[in-house]
C-alpha cells in the first residue's frame, strides 16, 4: 500500500470554518499537500476602509465567534498605538481578564469537544460524554466560566459590545468581578487535575524542528503586549512585523499563507507560547505542567493539547490575580486626541498571534487595515507537518490514515472562518500516472 495514493478530505470536521485536505503520495514519498480553505474571502480589511476607527472593535469582533476578543482587542491596541495614547493600568488589567475568559472558552471547546475524541477513540464529544461524563460535564462548566468572564466585561458572551478604543464603554464594578471568584477557585483545582488527564492520552512520536513565534513580555505570560520573538533569533516590535513576515497568495486556498521572509514556515499558538515563555507561568501552572511531564522545549504538535490544558490553569490563576487587585478606573475610557496616524499591534489569540496594522486620516477614517489571523500564519506549517507525518503512516488502512491526517490538522485548532475561512477528508487509491 505504499505505492500511489491520494488522501482527500472534502469537508473537514471538528474545525471552525470550511476547508478540504488533499495529500498525494507516490512511491512512498509525499508529492503534494494542500490544505484548501474554500470558505469564501470575507473582505473585512476592505470593509473597514472609509469607516471611523471607533467602529473597528465592533466590526472586527465579527471575524470570529470563538475568539472575537482577540480580534477586537488587537484592533484597539493598533489604533491606540497610532494615537500615541496609553490606557489606564486598571483598564489594562481588565483587558487581561477579558483574554483569560476567551482562552478558557476556546481551549475548553478545542480540548474536550473538538480534539479529545481523536485521542479517546470516539467519533465526537457525545461519545466522549458517554465514556467520561464527568470530564465533559466539567469541561462544559469551565467553558461556561470563560463565557461568564467575557460577558461580565464585554456585555455578552460572543461578539462583545463594550470594547472601545481607549478602554471600555462601561467597566464592571469590583463586586461584579468578585462574583466570579468562587467559580474560579473551583476551576483552578479542576483545570490542574485535567492537565494530567489530557497528558495521559497516547500521543504519536512526531517531534519537528519548528521555528516557534510568540509574543514575549518581561514579566508576564503573553496576551496582548510584548515583543515578537522566536527560537531562531527573531526579536522585533509589532511595527517591524512586515519587514520580517510576508503574506503570499497561494492558488489552492482562499487564505493567504504567511511566512518569515528569511526562512519560510513557522508555528504560532500554545506550543510556541509555552516553549518561549514557560518561565513566566505562575507556580500553579508550572506545577501542573511538571506533574504531567510537560517540559520545554516540547517539539510535538500533538502535545499542544497538554499545553492548552496548562494554559487553562494559567488563565484561571491570572483571572484570580486580576480580580484580587482590580479597582474600577477613574474613567471607563480615555478622551482621545483628534488626529490621524498609523499603528501596529500583535496579540495572542487562543490559537496564535494576530497582527494588525491600521492607518487613518485626521478625521479618524480608516485608510488601510491589515489583519493577519493565526490560521493564516500556521497554514503553511500545517501542510509541512502533513508532508512529514504521512510517510510514516502509509501502511495504515486508508480510513485510519485519513483520520490521522485530520487529527494532525486539528493540532492547530485552525479557525478557518477567521483565515478567510470546515475541513472534510476522503482517501482513495489512485493509479501512478494519476498523481
Amino acid at each position: 500500500m505504499s505505492g500511489a495514493k491520494t488522501i482527500r478530505v472534502d469537508y473537514m470536521a471538528r474545525v471552525e470554518g470550511e476547508a478540504s485536505l488533499l495529500v498525494k503520495v507516490k512511491g512512498g514519498a509525499v508529492q503534494d499537500v494542500k490544505l484548501k480553505i474554500f470558505e469564501p474571502p470575507r473582505l473585512f480589511e476592505a470593509l473597514l476602509r472609509g469607516r471611523h476607527y471607533s467602529e473597528a472593535p465592533d466590526i472586527t469582533a465579527r471575524i470570529c465567534g470563538i475568539c472575537p476578543v482577540a480580534y477586537q482587542m488587537t484592533s484597539v491596541h493598533a489604533i491606540e498605538n497610532a494615537l500615541g495614547v496609553t490606557i489606564h493600568p486598571q483598564v489594562r488589567l481588565l483587558r487581561r481578564l477579558f483574554y483569560t475568559g476567551e482562552w478558557l472558552e476556546s481551549h475548553a471547546l478545542h480540548i474536550y469537544m473538538l480534539h479529545a475524541p481523536d485521542f479517546l477513540g470516539c467519533h465526537n464529544v457525545m461519545e466522549v460524554a458517554q465514556k467520561h461524563p464527568e470530564v465533559v460535564a466539567e469541561a462544559l462548566r469551565l467553558k461556561k466560566l470563560g463565557n461568564r468572564i467575557v460577558s461580565t466585561i464585554g456585555g455578552r458572551e460572543v461578539h462583545p459590545v463594550s470594547v472601545c478604543v481607549g478602554g471600555f464603554y462601561k467597566v464592571p464594578t469590583r463586586a461584579d468581578l468578585l462574583a466570579l471568584r468562587e467559580e474560579l477557585k473551583w476551576a483552578l483545582d479542576v483545570a490542574a487535575e485535567k492537565v494530567r488527564f489530557v497528558a495521559g492520552f497516547e500521543y504519536p512520536d512526531f517531534d519537528q524542528p519548528y521555528e516557534f513565534v510568540a509574543l514575549s513580555h518581561p514579566d508576564e505570560y503573553p496576551f496582548n503586549e510584548g515583543r515578537l520573538v522566536s527560537n531562531r533569533g527573531l526579536d522585533i516590535e509589532a511595527s517591524e512585523y512586515e519587514e520580517h513576515f510576508v503574506e503570499k497568495h497561494v492558488k489552492h486556498t482562499h487564505a493567504l499563507h504567511s511566512q518569515i521572509r528569511a526562512r519560510g514556515s513557522y508555528l504560532t499558538g500554545p506550543l510556541a507560547r509555552f516553549n518561549l515563555n514557560h518561565e513566566k507561568l505562575p507556580a500553579v501552572a508550572k506545577q501542573a505542567a511538571e506533574a504531567a511531564g510537560l517540559r520545554a522545549p516540547c517539539l510535538n504538535p500533538f502535545r499542544s493539547l497538554v499545553v492548552r490544558a496548562v494554559e487553562m490553569v494559567f488563565a484561571i490563576e491570572e483571572a484570580l490575580r486580576v480580580i484580587d487587585v482590580y479597582e474600577p478606573p477613574p474613567a471607563p475610557h480615555l478622551d482621545l486626541p483628534r488626529r490621524g496616524g498609523a499603528g501596529f499591534a500583535i496579540t495572542e489569540a487562543p490559537r496564535g498571534i494576530n497582527y494588525n496594522y491600521y492607518r487613518f486620516d485626521d478625521k479618524g477614517l480608516i485608510e488601510i487595515a491589515r489583519i493577519v489571523p493565526p490560521t493564516s500564519q500556521n497554514q503553511k506549517q500545517i501542510e509541512e507537518d502533513l508532508a512529514a507525518f504521512v510517510p510514516g503512516l502509509l501502511e495504515l488502512p486508508q480510513a485510519e490514515l485519513t483520520h490521522k491526517c485530520e487529527q494532525a490538522v486539528r493540532n492547530y485548532d485552525p479557525c478557518i472562518s477567521c483565515a478567510t475561512h470546515f475541513l472534510t477528508v476522503k482517501v482513495e487509491n489512485v493509479k501512478e500516472d494519476a498523481c
Binding site: 471538528r14 471552525e16 465567534g65 461524563p133 465533559v136
Partner: protein, 154 residues
C-alpha cells in the same frame, strides 16, 4: 414553559427559529432567540418544559414537524448547524450528562437553502407565521402548559 427559537439570521432558512421567537415575543408570548453555540442550549433549557423551534433538512421545505429528542439524535443530517455544535449535539450531550429538560418538544421547520447572507425562503416565512399562530393560540389558552405534540404540513 420555555420557548427557544434557534438558528442564524444570516444563513437563509436557518433564520426560521429566531424569526419565530421574535414574532412570538411581538404577540406577547415569552420566547428567547439563540444563535450559534448549541452547547449553550444545555444551560438555557434547565426549565421543566422546553419547546425548541429550529430549521430542519429532510422534510418538505415550508412544512413543520414535531420531533422528540430520540429522533434528533438518530437524524444525523436532519438538523443542520452552522457551527459544529447544534441542536443534535445538545440533545446527545444532554442525555449523556442527564441535563435534559423534563419534556422537550422540537418544532422543525423544513428549510430549502442555508447559504451565507441569504434571505429565508418565502415558504419558510409562511411556515413560521403558521407555527407562531398555533403556538400563540395554545400558549394564550394555557400559558403554563407545554405545547401539544402535533404534526402538520403545509
Amino acid at each position: 414553559m420555555l420557548i427557544i427559537g434557534y438558528g442564524n439570521l444570516d444563513r437563509g432558512d436557518d433564520a426560521a427559529g429566531v424569526l419565530a421567537a421574535l414574532s412570538l415575543r411581538n404577540r406577547g408570548v415569552p420566547a428567547i432567540s439563540h444563535s450559534g453555540d448549541g452547547l449553550v442550549l444545555l444551560d438555557l433549557w434547565e426549565a421543566a418544559d422546553v419547546v425548541v423551534i429550529d430549521a430542519v433538512l429532510g422534510i418538505e421545505p415550508g412544512s413543520v414537524r414535531v420531533f422528540d429528542g430520540g429522533e434528533i439524535e438518530a437524524a444525523a443530517e436532519t438538523f443542520p448547524s452552522t457551527h459544529d455544535f447544534g441542536l443534535r449535539e445538545a440533545v446527545g450531550l444532554g442525555r449523556a450528562l442527564h441535563r435534559m429538560p423534563r419534556r422537550l418538544t422540537i418544532y422543525g421547520i423544513g428549510g430549502r437553502q442555508f447559504d451565507r447572507g441569504a434571505a429565508p425562503s418565502m415558504e419558510v416565512l409562511a411556515a413560521v407565521d403558521r407555527l407562531v399562530e398555533e403556538i400563540s393560540a395554545k400558549f394564550l389558552l394555557a400559558p403554563d402548559s407545554a405545547c401539544a405534540v402535533q404534526t402538520f404540513r403545509s
